[in-house]
């Protein structure tokens, strides 16, 4: 296969490594080192897609991340296809398959292009003015608008590739691997600094790679040779990290910078292994940052400037020198500054015919005129291109003289045939990262662009990013920046190492801005595009202002300029320029839109890193977890924990299993893994005072060996946690908390100790996971405890309720707590976690004789509900006090102050008609209320809004009471014992239920 536009005497591509690829179903050949864009251009393909709104043909415009137009979909594997990929950034690999976007049925013939014919009726913001209905409302039109919008298509997923994030600290981070960046990194490293150098493309050298080797020399050698040597030296330095294919995408607070490395996108899927990292985020904390991110060229804005084949002059030069590709063979140049002239010269020297150089300026440097003459290039000064032709690629352009002052046209248009039009409107320093760092921009009239002004963070700009326009200055500035950065990072100053650089071609820009090239004829018929992706024309900007949108931010949003996937890298400066004319204000007064992170779009998967799938979040499990799994238990997530919920036997339903477990716990022996409960060791002579202040009840008299239940409140008086605390010694306590509350409670207690009560002699240490907890429940469990434990009374049942003792199991020390969350005879055996599974298995073994039944959290919830015990987070929701639970006995208002005490006295908090916890017994004992159902007064639902008296917090069918039971928070519930209320249900008539006490196990007369 031949590549008609390929040159064989220049470029970094490897001509010995041809690569086959396809675009739009057609097969092509490129070389290793190509981007998709350079390979397509080498094959004469310019048109690659359609624009967002008008579906106009779009071609390759730029040579890097600034290209707004050259977007394609890469890859046919539905799990690996990548939409909206920039052809000028996608490196070529063997077998690459690319397809055009936003066109149907084909790129050449696109039905959507009808929009372009109707463009006159679709100005900026047209959709705000219609589609309001009736008869047809927005929901009708939205379908069609959505279908027409969007660009590429989403992969099907899941993503087969791997990503990761890595953290790094460094003295100096250098963003940009051009001459200035290399010089900065080189100098900083020479100072002994820890350096990270990140270059966006596959090659270091930046602008040096976009010019002929001999154009820039250091010590009689091509400057790029010096640059490559510097990179080699840096790569050998263990304190330097040199990254290519890596973009600094986000400059965040405190000098934290995100880098995005495309580690494998240049490899074909077959070249990747399951271990390959596709992309990597480098999370860099830098003492100093050097921004050497270069400058972005902007196109000229003129009528019909959007045809494929109309490219940035600098990009044409880059394709020529970096890739050895002629973007066209009959080239026209359209410029308002010096730089594009070199593109003309280089094209001519490479064998292309340059049919014209059109310059809007009246006078240009004589050297340029001489060099053009030497090459027989026709030059038209003080002229402009006013129209172009060519359906899928430019075929000709109309050139006309500009009236003096450049405000109008004169004479008649002359048509010039061409297959390439390289334009340049000047260069804008790439200040995106600087702006993200929250420095302020300042307008530089010589550049007609913004450059870095006052810095905010520890950063400095160098080279073209700083508005510098010659290579020698860039080299010197980069070196100086590296030196200063190293010094500010605290490294000792060493001798500067900056070589002499000479450039053999004209440099400088000498731009004379012409933001809007005058239009020939009816302005309203012109199509001068500012944003080539979102189809924003100068007309749209004029219209937005005319319609009263004065702020540049409003105009951006109204016209969508700069809101495409390139975020207006080349469009924004032109837009500001056009607006300064429209508003008749200097550009600084027009202002700029915000430069937001990321500098360019970053893959979601890369940002998620390695923390996906199995590694998404921790799954905390108890020492007995393996046993539960072996029983094929059903589990539930409780915060980070995965707890066994129930243990269905073969053929048993979830409900049946829970019923069986609950029954067994009151008739035989049930055993529960309660290891997840929070545990805090409290020690110090002021421990009791401390407990008195953090719990609502009194702790002064709790004797060693005894336990007590307590509520903790927030200062707002609402319950935040509960648990049993045991007295180990007079100054030593073992506190327990809820599973989910453990960390929060410890944090709050430390807060009070460190901040409010530093005078208290109390230390806290969490021991939650040191202890595995086996909770035995049921009338027969004293016998089992007696069998297992030594060191307890002959009859463990004689241990007083709410007491604890040390004991041993096979010589392993344990703590045995005689406490109960079920109302049933119950013991909790605490053993060091490493023995947890052993103890559990031992209990199951010994328990066989008693027909022991393991039960999970669901039965535990049911059992405690039978007894009317509350669960914080189920009966409470952050709006409930102990008084609301009608547990006044646990609130000691007579003792001193405690957390939340004062809030209990607030006018609303002490209302007697607040929602209070009660039991509910349905009239039909078989009917189980829905948890979350609302309690209402009427037997039938009136029209909304229906007054709600309260809601059902817990509801079960009780196997022990052989009827349904429920707990509910009901207005004035305490005063309504025996009342019948109604509980609403979706799709059914309300269920009648009688209000009762909450302890369903208590003798019946109590609840009557």
């Amino acid at each position: 296969m031949t590549q008609p536009f390929r040159l064989y005497d220049r470029g970094l591509v490897n001509r010995n490594r041809p690569l086959q690829f396809s675009f739009a179903g057609k097969a092509y050949e490129g070389f290793l080192g190509d981007t998709l864009a350079s390979a397509l251009l080498a094959n004469g393909v310019h048109m690659v897609g359609r624009s967002f709104k008008y579906h106009r043909p779009r071609g390759i415009v730029g040579a890097g991340s600034d290209d707004p137009a050259g977007l394609v979909q890469i890859g046919k594997d539905p799990r690996r296809t990548d939409p909206n990929t920039r052809a000028s950034e996608q490196e070529l690999y063997h077998g690459l398959e690319a397809v055009p976007q936003n066109c149907w049925p084909s790129l050449g013939f696109d039905v959507g292009a009808v929009n372009d014919l109707l463009a006159g009726f679709f100005p900026a913001g047209f959709y705000y003015k219609t589609f309001m209905g009736p008869p047809l409302n927005w929901m009708f039109f939205e379908k069609h608008i959505r279908a027409a919008a969007g660009l590429g298509t989403c992969p099907e997923g899941p993503d087969p590739d791997r990503y990761e994030a890595v953290n790094r600290h460094c003295d100096v981070l250098v963003a940009g691997g051009g001459l200035a960046g290399i010089a900065a990194a080189y100098q900083a490293a020479r100072c002994g600094a820890r350096v990270i150098l990140a270059e966006e493309t596959a090659h270091f050298g930046g602008h040096l790679l976009s010019m002929a080797r001999s154009d820039a020399l250091i010590k009689e050698q091509p400057a790029r040779a010096w640059a490559f040597d510097a990179i080699d030296e840096l790569q050998k330095n263990p304190d330097v990290t040199v990254l290519k294919r890596t973009t600094a995408f986000g400059y965040y607070g405190h000098n934290f910078v995100g880098l995005w490395e495309r580690a494998a996108d240049h490899l074909s899927p077959t070249q990747r292994t399951p271990d390959t990292i596709r992309q990597r985020i480098w999370r860099v904390r830098a003492k100093q940052v050097v921004l050497a991110t270069g400058a972005l060229e902007r196109p000229l804005v003129f009528n019909q400037n959007d045809r494929p084949g109309v490219m940035l002059a600098g990009a044409v030069r880059t394709f020529l020198h970096r890739y050895g590709v002629l973007a066209g063979k009959r080239a026209g140049i359209f410029t308002n500054n010096d730089t594009a002239w070199q593109t003309a010269f280089d094209l001519a020297d490479a064998g292309a015919s340059v049919v014209t150089v059109v310059d809007t300026r009246a006078e240009v440097d004589a050297t340029l005129l001489r060099m053009a003459a030497e090459r027989n290039i026709p030059v038209r000064l003080q002229s402009a291109i006013v129209a172009t032709d060519g359906r899928h690629r430019i075929t000709s352009a109309d050139v006309m003289p500009l009236a003096p002052g450049g405000t109008g046209l004169t004479g008649t248009p002359e048509e010039v045939a061409m297959d390439l039009l390289a334009t340049s409107g000047g260069w804008t320093p790439n200040v995106a990262l600087f702006a993200q760092s929250r420095g302020k921009l300042s307008y530089d009239a010589d550049l007609a662009g913004f450059r870095p002004g006052p810095s905010f963070q520890a950063e400095r700009s160098a080279g073209a990013a700083n508005g510098t326009t010659t290579l020698a200055d860039a080299l010197a500035e980069g070196t100086e920046a590296g030196l200063a950065a190293a010094k500010d990072a605290g490294l000792k100053r060493v001798r500067k190492t900056s070589p002499e650089l000479s450039v053999t071609i004209p440099e400088g820009v000498a731009v004379e801005p012409i933001w809007e090239v005058p239009v020939l004829g009816d302005f309203s018929k012109s199509r001068a595009f500012v944003d080539l992706q979102d189809d924003v024309t100068t007309k749209d900007l004029h219209l937005a202002y005319k319609e009263g949108y004065r702020s540049v931010e409003h105009i951006k949003r109204y016209t969508t300029t700069g809101m495409g996937t390139d975020q207006g890298k080349i469009a924004n400066m032109n837009a500001f320029g056009v607006l300064s004319g429209v508003m008749d204000k200097p550009i600084p007064d027009v202002g700029v839109t915000t430069f937001r992170q990321p500098f360019k779009p970053v893959t979601f998967g890369a940002l998620a890193g390695q923390h996906v799938g199995a590694h998404f979040l921790p799954r905390r499990t108890t020492p007995m977890h393996d046993w539960h799994r072996r029983q094929d238990a059903i589990f539930e997530p409780v915060g980070d924990w995965i707890r066994a919920r129930t243990y269905p036997r073969p053929g048993e339903s979830f409900h049946q299993a829970v019923q069986r477990e609950s029954k067994a716990a009151r008739t035989g022996i049930g055993v529960l893994d309660a290891s997840t409960l929070g545990k805090i060791d409290v020690r110090g002579k002021d421990a009791r005072t401390f407990l008195n202040r953090v719990y609502t009840n009194a702790w002064s008299k709790l004797a060693p060996g005894r336990c007590r239940y307590g509520f903790m409140l927030g200062e707002d008086g609402m319950i935040i946690d509960d648990g049993v605390t045991a007295c180990l010694a007079d100054d030593h306590f073992h506190m327990t908390t809820t599973t989910g509350g453990a960390a929060r409670v410890l944090g709050q207690l430390e807060d009070y100790l460190q901040t409010e009560w530093p005078d208290l002699d109390v230390f806290l240490t969490t021991t939650t996971e040191h202890w595995a907890v086996v909770s035995l429940c049921g009338p027969k469990c004293p016998d089992l405890v007696k069998e297992l434990c030594t060191g307890l009374p002959d009859d463990p049942a004689s241990m007083p309720f709410m007491s604890w003792q040390n004991a041993e199991v096979d010589g392993i020390p344990v703590r045995v707590f005689r406490i109960s969350f079920t109302g049933e005879m119950s013991f909790e055996i605490n053993v060091p976690a490493s023995y947890g599974l052993w103890l559990w298995e031992k209990v199951m073994e010994a328990g066989q004789a008693y027909d022991i039944t393991p039960y999970g959290t669901e039965a535990m919830h049911l059992l405690r509900a039978e007894k009317g015990f509350v669960i914080v987070g189920q009966e409470t929701d952050g709006t409930v006090t102990p008084l609301d639970l009608r547990m006044d006995w646990i609130v000691n208002m007579k003792k001193g102050d405690f957390i939340g005490k004062r809030s209990l006295l607030r006018s609303d908090t002490c209302r007697s008609d607040r929602k209070q916890l009660v039991g509910l017994l349905t009239e039909n004992p078989k009917t189980v209320l829905a948890e979350g159902a609302q309690v209402i007064g009427n037997a039938s639902e009136p029209q909304p809004p229906v007054p709600m008296l309260g809601w059902v917090t817990s509801s079960y069918y009780s196997p022990n009471l052989e009827r349904s039971i429920a707990l509910a928070l009901v207005e004035s519930g305490g005063a309504r014992m025996g009342d019948v209320v109604h509980v609403s249900r979706s799709g059914g008539k309300p269920v009648a239920a009688r209000i009762t006490e909450t302890d369903f196990l208590a003798p019946a007369e109590e609840t009557a």
Partner: protein, 122 residues
């Protein structure tokens, strides 16, 4: 993500810390005469200033100690750290400056451009 200089462990990433709210809000001694309004001042009302602000952080993943930080909430610059119970030191800060209402370093988007290389008031 801030770099927070823990008084006990040195500079660490913010992810190791937990924010603990406004500093120097002393819990009132019990007083039967205290009104609901006075109590609400302690429980709910906050100064929430734009500018110099004394706040508390706790080094959750490190030493577990609470300490005070003075931060400029208009720019997120940390201006001082000091131990619980000690007096806040005097600090200088780039304060919000009208007419933009924003100090250099504020993320607020009111003014992003200076006309020339003029210094922005600090």
């Amino acid at each position: 993500m801030f770099v927070i200089p823990c008084p006990y462990c040195g500079e660490r990433d913010q992810s190791e810390f937990t924010y603990a709210g406004e500093a120097h809000i002393a819990r009132p001694e019990w007083d039967d005469a205290m009104t609901d309004e006075q109590w609400a001042e302690f429980v709910f009302m906050r100064s929430n200033p734009k500018g110099v602000y004394a706040e508390r952080w706790v080094h959750t993943a490190g030493c577990g100690k609470f300490f005070n930080v003075i931060r400029n909430t208009a720019t997120d610059e940390i201006l001082a750290v000091y131990e619980i119970g000690s007096e806040p030191p005097k600090v200088a800060a780039r304060l919000p400056a009208t007419p933009s209402g924003e100090a250099l370093g504020s993320g607020n988007d009111a003014v992003k451009v200076v006309a020339s290389h003029e210094e922005v008031r600090s």
